[in-house]
């Protein structure tokens, strides 16, 4: 049991766990009643002190749902052109169970060149990001896991395990560090396809607040139940205070008071209209194909500024999510998707930098997995498409920018065909250990007692990837 997370109670054989504390002790018990508020502030967090000085205060995770092809963006493999139309050589064995039937090797349809001073060889999929920021990005080419369907792969990326429902990285961070702004949730999912992601064994309050995709009914990015449903709410709060004092003598209105404060702070934050036209232009707001994601990223920056710890921004289709899932029409699909995010991402990096936020903010961009060097037999029935790639979790690329990572650096490598990570392999627990490290947490120290044992985000594994740290 993690001593820092327990409150020892005399006369009881087992110390009350933090979970008991948070779940059970909300009533008129003096100091304990403020448990939820404390969970947001420094005093009530799982860690009494950080392991080391954190490089990053917050994380923005740009998640390209469906599977960005590493082979068509940042992991160049000349062998693909050489072996085009041929089966993979015997040295590269596809795994026993793949998502779909595998065809022959197809080359990347995109133009590749050297970018920036670092001379990073990359495709022209993200021209704005590449031309302006390639020297600031830190590439991880050897991330790998073994879930080759979207659902479990996303769970692996966010929680470390495929099947079981465990807390996400964001929930762990909020549990460990609390919030920097007590009027706001500390963890926000912008346009998630999987809203209200369960928090596993952590109490629900450590979950992410979802900002839903704008639709016809509510055209603005907003979160639920925030807009006042009726006027004169100060008067209503006064009634609650009067009534509870008279009726029980012990008004416990901390949550209600916090809700009121959120109502005043949040709408301002959500209102993008207060930004200058120049800033909006930076993110591509107002232009057809970049408007939606530009707004999402601008909102993310505003949350980051306001002190939110962990923000995911999901680039996904409204219903099923897997926008980057080009089993066919790789070129058109990836090009269209990249057009929608390239300007906004470059804009975000620029904006964060100008505001000095990039110094203590870590930006991550990647997918739940990459794609195969071979085309996919599109369908068992027809098998006619030969221009898409299947899922490949065995070696794919994710990039970082900002706090604590080496700019212009490349870590790890895949084999000649970009199928498997082979050099400096980084598994999902290493990835998570590194992110916690950047936030000042030793991944072995952040534990939660549940079902008879201490759980960690990194289970019993995880090595910090020192190679990418600045």
């Amino acid at each position: 049991m993690n001593k820092t997370s327990s409150i020892f109670c005399p006369g009881q054989s087992r110390p009350l766990s933090r979970r008991d504390w948070l779940r059970k002790s909300f009533l008129g018990l003096g100091a304990i009643a403020a448990a939820d508020v404390m969970a947001r502030g420094g005093a009530g967090t799982a860690l009494t002190k950080l392991h080391h000085r954190p490089a990053a205060k917050r994380i923005l995770y740009i998640f390209l749902e469906g599977g960005l092809s590493q082979l068509d963006s940042y992991d160049h493999k000349p062998a693909l052109a050489k072996f085009a139309g041929q089966a993979l050589p015997d040295s590269i064995r596809p795994p026993q169970f793949t998502f779909a039937k595998q065809g022959t090797v197809i080359p990347s349809p995109f133009a590749w060149k050297h970018w920036g001073e670092s001379g990073t060889y990359a495709s022209d999929l993200f021209p704005e990001v590449n031309s302006r920021f390639i020297d600031e990005l830190c590439f991880l080419h050897s991330l790998h896991h073994s879930s080759n369907d979207h659902v479990t792969a996303k769970r692996v990326l966010h929680t470390g395990v495929p099947i079981e429902i465990r807390p996400t990285l964001g929930s762990w961070l909020v549990y460990g560090l609390g919030a920097m702004n007590e009027n706001l949730p500390a963890y926000i999912d912008i346009t998630p396809t999987d809203p209200n992601r369960p928090t596993g064994f952590l109490p629900g309050k450590f979950g992410g607040a979802a900002i839903a995709r704008p639709d016809k009914k509510s055209p603005k990015l907003a979160w639920e139940n925030l807009a006042p449903a009726f006027t004169k709410q100060e008067r209503h709060l006064q009634f609650l205070r009067d009534f509870e004092s008279a009726d029980r003598g012990d008004p416990q209105l901390d949550e209600m008071e916090l809700a009121f404060r959120m109502q005043t702070e949040a709408p301002e934050l959500l209102d993008l209209e207060s930004e200058t036209p120049a800033t909006k232009k930076l993110y591509g707001i107002g232009e057809d194909h970049t408007d939606e994601f530009g707004r999402a990223l601008l909102l993310a920056r505003r949350f980051a500024e306001a002190g939110v710890r962990y923000i995911t921004i999901n680039h996904a289709t409204p219903r099923y999510g897997n926008l980057w899932d080009q089993h066919s029409e790789l070129e058109a699909g990836h090009r269209g998707n990249a057009n929608a995010v390239d300007r906004p991402i470059a804009g975000l990096l620029h904006d964060l930098k100008m505001r000095g936020l990039l110094d203590d903010t870590l930006v991550i961009c990647g997918s739940e997995f990459g794609r195969t060097p071979t085309f996919e037999f599109f369908d068992g029935v027809t098998g006619r498409h030969r221009n898409g790639r299947d899922h490949n979790p065995h070696g794919f690329t994710t990039w970082f920018a900002g706090a604590g990572v080496k700019p212009g650096h490349h870590h790890g490598a895949t084999d000649d065909f970009g199928y498997y990570a082979v050099k400096d392999k980084v598994d999902i627990h290493d990835f998570h250990a590194t992110l916690l490290h950047l936030m000042g947490i030793h991944h072995e120290a952040l534990t939660y007692f549940h079902g008879g044992r201490d759980f960690r985000l990194t289970d019993v594994y995880g090595q910090v990837v020192r190679g990418i740290l600045s």
Binding site: C9, G11, S13, R14, L16, D20, L22, R23, K24, S25, F26, L27, L29, D36, T98, F99, D149, V151, T152, P162, I163, T193, D194, N196, P198, P203, G204, K205, A209, E224, N225, A227, P228, A229, F230, R235, H236, F239, L240, F243, E244, A246, D247, R248, Q252, E255, M256, L258, A259, M262, R319, Y320, S328, F378, D379, V381, T382, G451, G452, R453
Partner: protein
């Protein structure tokens, strides 16, 4: 133990007595003597309180106690009539509440938490809705209402289908084993071998945590780190569940499906009758096909000719069970095979060369009539199409059908065929787009399509042959009509050939270690008990596992359940970790009381209501929940029970509280059987009963997780009771509480038009179970008056806000 040869290892495991440091929970159950006279529960509790010199709170006031007991036992607040009658003796009230048919709805839900039952769709991607779990839910409710003995209850859930015929009473044993199949497992797993074992693991984890408060799944990969559970124990149990089938089939390719098995929920005689008719139908179908095949042979061979200028290019969008739309170019005339089982549909993109009337000719087969909805350019056409059965789906059974598209402009045209949820969908084979609207009895176009299939021959028959065919088909139609439509329930059955599993080290499905472990019961309750129920070779062993659990010598079963019952009454167990009685779990705060209750459970014939009576009649249960400096200092977290532990109510009770305040739930009388048709609005049923108030369905669905309900389909052993700012925002601004507050205000104003004081009193009593004090009354009246006089709001709006305020008050959302 090192690398000992496996048989010797097994021998040691069975014969060596448990290690000295075994968990407390495995010590044999011996009935302790209460330390004092009087109520035994109070005697045990008082003894501990005396150690710290603390006095237990006095009994709560009658209003609070009535509200506490009523919410605790029925999940509903007391009615105003009941509040008026609250002077009656507590014992009488306990009896009345235990006899209430709503008791099962409340306590059944507690068990459903353990059994990981979720209403309707599970909100986890990749886990399909578990249809037909509702009969299991109703079974659990019924079992609690009947006070089914706990040993029988657990046996039915694990092995109801295996009980000897003499014990197969009613339908309960058929429904109960759904306990094993309502779990969430990842149906789309690409590795079938791993999934098979994952599925077994899910059942083992759920069952061992539910009945033994030990999670055996820890021992899937390695011997349990803390508790006496070895990988051999795990695999002995895994063999039992691996020899049990919960899917109707199990495809290696996930796209081909792994649906949960179903069975008719009907008496054996009825099932037999249906099977009889099915056999007759099958025989008639064979006769029919033979007849048609013969007729086909006698037809003169016709050379195929082209249908003039009619075939255009097709593309189809195909929903194949994976959540992606796929656009597939079709070869001329090609259709598409559908795999998706639920709500199947297929859409074709046509390009019409010029305006005019068009039809689609579709070659299809459908064993039973499967008329599909036709959607043209996003608009549904009234009549269904392709409705004739072809009585089989072999190549011989395919037949052409005509789907008229009507007058269309030139250019793109989307045509979709769709079936409803769980409706059959015909198998499509070929498609042709033709101009005009060919009559279905016109031979010429059929002839032009080439040699007929036997099924297609029906259009070319002679008068007499047609008569024979009509006779057969009329008989078939009659038979189909006479076949009873039997309701379905999830089915669990033993595999044809039970198998033993070898240890899979690290849970790896592709590696085994040593010989297969014989199916058997775990050794943790002693080797004698483990060997007491040998598993016959031809059965899975579920029944023997249940017998082992239900044996009074098993030290865990009764302790675990007694602790759960205590937990559900007091918000936390005597062992706080209700699902972990291992060494890393909590130790009991009152071990003797727990053992005494466990013995009462067994000796009371495993009656759960017997335990309720004991607990509710104690001063410990009836004590006031008020904190005071003394009990806060000496019993800060309430584990000594110096006061009743107040806590936030579960989401169902909060919802039902709002619902009943407007008179929406008819109270059913104590002693009558539950009429679920009158209860359908309650939170227990609301997500599957389609009875949400208009526009509120989504809000209700969202309310559940907001108030600590985990809707991801995992067991909930201990509900999350936290109070959050998100909940506060919900109380303020969400339309759902506002909806009920509005209705409540209207009701109050209608019933008490000119008496605001009476209104305030009724509101307070309805929601909080007691009349208001003068201060509270003044606050309510003052607020309402202020809103009307100074803010210019209507009386209804003003009282809506007062009601909303009371909904969000602590007294409403807490059990005290």
């Amino acid at each position: 133990m090192g690398r000992m040869p496996m048989p010797l290892f097994a021998f040691l495991l069975l014969s060596v007595p448990l290690a000295a440091d075994e968990p407390w929970s495995l010590k044999p159950l011996v009935r302790p003597t209460p330390p004092a006279e009087g109520h035994p529960v109070d005697a045990f509790i008082e003894a501990k309180l005396a150690e710290v010199g603390l006095r237990q709170n006095d009994v709560a006031d009658p209003h609070t106690l009535l509200r506490r007991m009523t919410l605790d036992l029925t999940g509903l607040p007391p009615t105003r009539e009941e509040i008026g009658r609250q002077k009656s003796e507590v014992g009488v009230q306990i009896d009345r509440l235990l006899a209430s048919p709503h008791y099962g709805e409340r306590w059944g839900r507690h068990w459903l938490d353990v059994a990981r039952y979720v209403q309707g769709t599970i909100k986890v991607p990749g886990v399909a809705a578990i249809d037909l779990a509702e009969p299991y839910r109703d079974y659990v409710v019924r079992s609690f209402n009947e006070d089914k003995t706990y040993d029988r209850f657990l046996t039915e859930q694990l092995a109801g289908d295996l009980l000897p015929a003499s014990q197969q009473v009613g339908q309960d044993p058929l429904v109960a084993p759904a306990f094993l199949s309502i779990g969430q497992w990842f149906e789309e797993c690409t590795d079938p071998n791993k999934l098979r074992l994952d599925l077994v693991d899910e059942q083992i984890s759920t069952a061992t945590r539910a009945f033994l408060a030990m999670d055996f799944s820890c021992a899937r990969c390695h011997d349990h780190k803390f508790d006496p559970i070895s990988t051999r124990d795990y695999h002995a149990l895994a063999g039992i569940f691996r020899s049990t089938e919960i899917t109707s089939y199990f495809a290696d390719e996930w796209k081909d499906g792994r649906p949960r098995a179903l069975r008719p929920l009907a008496a054996e005689a009825e099932v037999k009758k249906a099977e009889e008719i099915d056999r007759e139908i099958a025989a008639l179908r064979t006769r029919r096909l033979t007849f048609l095949t013969k007729a086909q042979e006698s037809l003169a061979a016709k050379a195929a000719t082209e249908v003039q200028g009619t075939v255009l290019a097709f593309e189809a969008e195909h929903f194949d069970g994976h959540k992606d739309l796929k656009t597939i170019p079709l070869a001329q005339g090609e259709a598409i095979a559908l795999r998706r089982a639920i709500e199947p549909w297929v859409r074709y993109r046509l390009v019409l060369p010029d305006p005019g009337a068009y039809s689609l000719l579709v070659r299809y087969a459908a064993t039973d009539p499967a008329p599909v909805q036709l959607e043209i350019e996003g608009k549904f056409v009234d009549a269904r199409v392709l409705g004739d059965a072809t009585h089989g789906e072999t190549p011989a059974h395919f037949r052409w059908g005509v789907v008229p598209l009507g007058e269309r402009p030139a250019g793109r045209c989307f045509v979709r065929f769709k079936a409803g949820r769980n409706e059959p969908f015909p198998t499509l084979d070929r498609l042709l787009l033709v101009k005009g609207t060919p009559a279905s009895d016109d031979h010429t176009w059929r002839e032009a399509l080439g040699p007929p299939t036997p099924e297609e021959t029906r259009f070319f028959l002679s008068e007499t042959d047609r008569k024979t065919l009509t006779e057969i088909e009329t008989r078939l139609a009659d038979l189909r009509k006479s076949r009873p439509v039997l309701p379905l329930t999830l089915a669990v059955r033993d595999a044809a050939a039970p198998i033993d599993l070898a240890v899979h080290p690290g849970g790896n499905p592709y590696a085994t270690e040593g010989d297969p472990v014989p199916r058997g019961n775990p050794g943790l309750a002693g080797s004698e008990l483990a060997a007491a129920f040998p598993i016959p070779a031809e059965t899975s062993g579920r029944l023997q596992f249940a017998q082992w659990l239900a044996d009074p010598r098993n030290p865990l079963t009764a302790r675990v359940m007694a602790n759960r019952i205590w937990h559900w009454h007091f918000g936390s167990g005597l062992v706080r970790t209700v699902d972990d009685f291992g060494k890393r779990g909590a130790t009991p705060t009152h071990p003797e009381l727990l053992d005494w209750l466990a013995c009462e459970l067994i000796e009371g014939g495993w009656s759960i209501k017997h335990l309720h009576r004991i607990i509710l009649s104690s001063a410990t249960y009836q004590a006031s929940s008020a904190p005071n400096p003394d009990n806060l200092a000496k019993d800060p977290d309430g584990t000594l029970y110096s006061r009743f532990p107040a806590r936030r109510l579960e989401v169902e009770v909060i919802y039902d509280g709002m619902l009943t305040s407007i008179g929406k739930v008819a109270r059913q009388n104590a002693g009558t059987p539950l009429d679920t048709s009158k209860s359908k609005d309650r939170a227990l049923y609301i997500l599957t009963s389609s009875r949400s108030p208009l526009g509120m369905g989504v809000e209700i669905r969202k309310m559940f997780p907001l108030f600590g309900f985990d809707d991801s389909g995992r067991p909930m052993h201990d509900r999350d009771e936290s109070v959050t700012a998100a909940q506060a925002l919900w109380w303020l601004n969400n339309p759902l509480p506002r909806f009920y507050a509005g209705k409540l205000a209207e009701k109050l104003l209608k019933e008490h038009p000119d008496k605001p004081t009476e209104r305030a009193r009724v509101l307070h009593e309805t929601l909080l179970g007691r009349p208001p004090g003068s201060g509270a009354e003044a606050a309510m009246l003052g607020y309402a008056t202020d809103l009307v006089k100074n803010e210019g709001l209507s009386e209804t709006e003003a009282w809506t806000r007062v009601a909303l305020g009371l909904f969000s008050s602590q007294s409403f959302r807490n059990l005290e």
